[in-house]
Amino acid sequence: MTDPAMNGRPAGGGPPGEGGHPGDLPVLLPSALSRTGPETRLRPAHAWLLCGLAAVALPAWAQAGSGASSPLEVVIRWAPLLLTGFAFNVAISLMAMLLGTLAGTGLGIAMLAEGPVLRRLAWTVTQVFRNVPWLVLLFFVMFLVPFQVTVLGVRVPLPDWVKATFGFALPVMANVAEIVRGAVRSVPTTQWEAAESLAFTRRQILWRIILPQCAKRMLPPWMNVYALIAMATVQASIVGVTEMLTLTAQVHAAEGGRPELFAPLYGFALLCFFLYCYPIDRLTARLERRFETR
C-alpha cells in the first residue's frame, strides 16, 4: 500500500529538476515550483491514502526511529516549513471563501431576480458548479488561467496558489449561492409584503429586511462550507501548488524517504488540519443548535 508513494520519491527526486540533492529543499518559491512537470505533480495524490494510514499509525510514531534522527526530531526540525505550508492552505481557503462568498451572494440574489433570463442563467451556473468535483474545477482553473495577466500595461504574475484560490472559490460561490437562495426563500412572503407596503424598493427589502433576518440562518451552513474548503485545499498539491501536503511529501523525500517517517510527517499534517477544522465544526454545531431553539 505504501510503496507507490515511497517509490514515487526516490532519493534525489524531491522537488525534481532543481539538480539538488535530497536535502536541497526549495523553500517557498511558488514561481520555481510551478515549473515542476505534471508527471511529478500527481504523486502527492497518494497522500490522501497516507492521511488515513497516518491516523492508524500515529501510535507507532513514538517508538519508531532509533538510528539517524528520530521521527519526532524530523518533525520538529521541519515543522516551521510545514507550518508555512499550512499557512498557505489557510490563506488559500480564506481567500477562496472571501471571493466565493462575494460572488455567491450575487449569484444567489440573481437566482431570485424578477427577470427570468437572469434567474435561469444564475440557476444554471449554480447547478453546474455545485455538481462537479472540486478537483475538476481546480484543474480547469489551473490550466485555463494564465500564469500572468496584463492589467493596464502592468504584468501581474499569478502564482499557482492564487490560481488555486480561484479554483476553490468557484465551488464556494455555488454553495454560498444556494445557501443565500434557500435562506431568502425561507423568509415568509408576508415580510416582503409588509416592506413593500412601506414603499421599500426590492433592493432595500432584500438588503435591509430579508438578508439581515437570514444571516443567522446562513451562518452554520456557510461555516460548514468553509471547513470543507479548508480541508479540500490539500487537493492543490495535486496541481503542484506548494502547500502543506506538497511540502510534507518533499520533506519526506528529503529525509531519504524512510518508511517510518510516513506516519509522523503525515500525522503532523493531519493534526494541523484537525486542530484547525474541528473547532470550526463544533462552533457550527453549537450555532445550529442555538438557532434551532430560538
Partner: protein
C-alpha cells in the same frame, strides 16, 4: 414628499375611488365589479363571509395585487395604470396586516423608524422623536427596545400600526388586524384605531368586529362572492338590512 397629493386631486373629491374592479386568479373571478368611494377622514368598514374577496380588494388598493380590470384612484394616483409609481402610492397608503408582519430582527423603535429613514430619507433625530411619540400614542412607551418576539400579539399589532403611521399616510388600510388576537388584546388595538379615526385619519378596514364597525364606521359595505351586496351607514345596515344574504350573515356574527 409623502402625503402631498398630486395636483389632480382636491380634498372635496373622494380620496379613494374604486370603479368596477374585477380581479381573477387564473379562471377564478374573486372580484366581480366592485365600486365604492372613501372620502377624506371617513372610516369605511368592509364586512362579509370568508372568501368573499375582502383581502384581495384591500390589497388591490396599494397594488400588492394587480387588478384585472377597472380603475382605482388614491389621492389622484391611478393604481391600475401600468406606469404606476408604486412607491409613491405606498407612501400615501399605509397598510396593517392580520399577522402584524413586524421585522423580527429590529426592535419596536427600529421597526417604526426604518421606512421614514430609508424610504423618505428623513433626518434620524427627527424620525426618532416622531417614532417615540408614535409608540407612546399606541400606548407602548417603554417598549421601544423590545423585539417583536418579546411582545404580545396586541402589542406587536400596535407597533405595526405605529410603523405604518410613521410614513404619514393619507389613507390607512387594515385587513382583519384583530383576527389573530386574543379577545382581551383585541380591545387595545381597536382603541388605537378608534383614536386614529377620531383624529381624522381616513381608514378602510376589513373587519369581523361588528360592534366596532357599528360604533366607529361612517359607512359599511357588505361583500359576498366578489360583489358588494349592500351598503349604508352602520345604523341602517345593521338594523335594517335589505338583502337576505346580509341578514343571514349578520345573524351569524352578531
Amino acid at each position: 414628499m409623502a402625503g402631498i397629493p398630486p395636483s389632480t386631486w382636491t380634498s372635496d373629491q373622494p380620496i379613494v375611488r374604486v370603479s368596477d374592479v374585477h380581479k381573477s386568479f387564473g379562471t377564478f373571478e374573486v372580484l366581480k365589479g366592485i365600486s365604492f368611494d372613501v372620502r377624506k377622514g371617513e372610516v369605511v368598514c368592509i364586512i362579509g363571509p370568508s372568501g368573499s374577496g375582502k383581502s384581495t380588494l384591500i390589497r388591490c388598493i396599494n397594488a400588492l395585487v394587480p387588478v384585472t380590470s377597472g380603475t382605482i384612484r388614491v389621492a389622484g394616483i391611478e393604481v391600475a395604470d401600468p406606469k404606476l409609481d408604486k412607491l409613491a402610492l405606498r407612501r400615501t397608503v399605509g397598510m396593517v396586516f392580520q399577522q402584524y408582519n413586524l421585522f423580527p430582527h429590529k426592535t419596536a423603535l427600529a421597526n417604526v423608524m426604518m421606512a421614514p429613514l430609508h424610504v423618505l430619507g428623513q433626518n434620524r433625530a427627527e424620525v426618532e422623536v416622531r417614532a417615540r411619540a408614535l409608540l407612546a400614542k399606541v400606548r407602548l412607551a417603554g417598549k421601544e427596545d423590545a423585539y417583536p418576539g418579546e411582545l404580545s400579539g396586541g402589542q406587536q399589532q400596535r407597533v405595526a400600526i405605529a410603523r405604518s403611521l410613521a410614513m404619514r399616510p393619507d389613507v390607512m388600510l387594515f385587513d382583519e388586524v384583530t383576527a389573530a388576537l386574543d379577545p382581551e388584546t383585541v380591545k387595545e388595538v381597536l382603541v388605537t384605531i378608534r383614536e386614529l379615526a377620531e383624529e381624522g385619519m381616513t381608514c378602510l378596514l376589513v373587519t369581523h368586529e361588528m360592534n366596532f364597525a357599528r360604533e366607529v364606521a361612517d359607512h359599511v359595505y357588505f361583500t359576498d362572492r366578489g360583489v358588494i351586496v349592500e351598503h349604508g351607514p352602520p345604523a341602517t345596515l345593521f338594523s335594517a338590512a335589505q338583502d337576505e344574504r346580509t341578514r343571514r350573515f349578520l345573524s351569524q356574527v352578531l
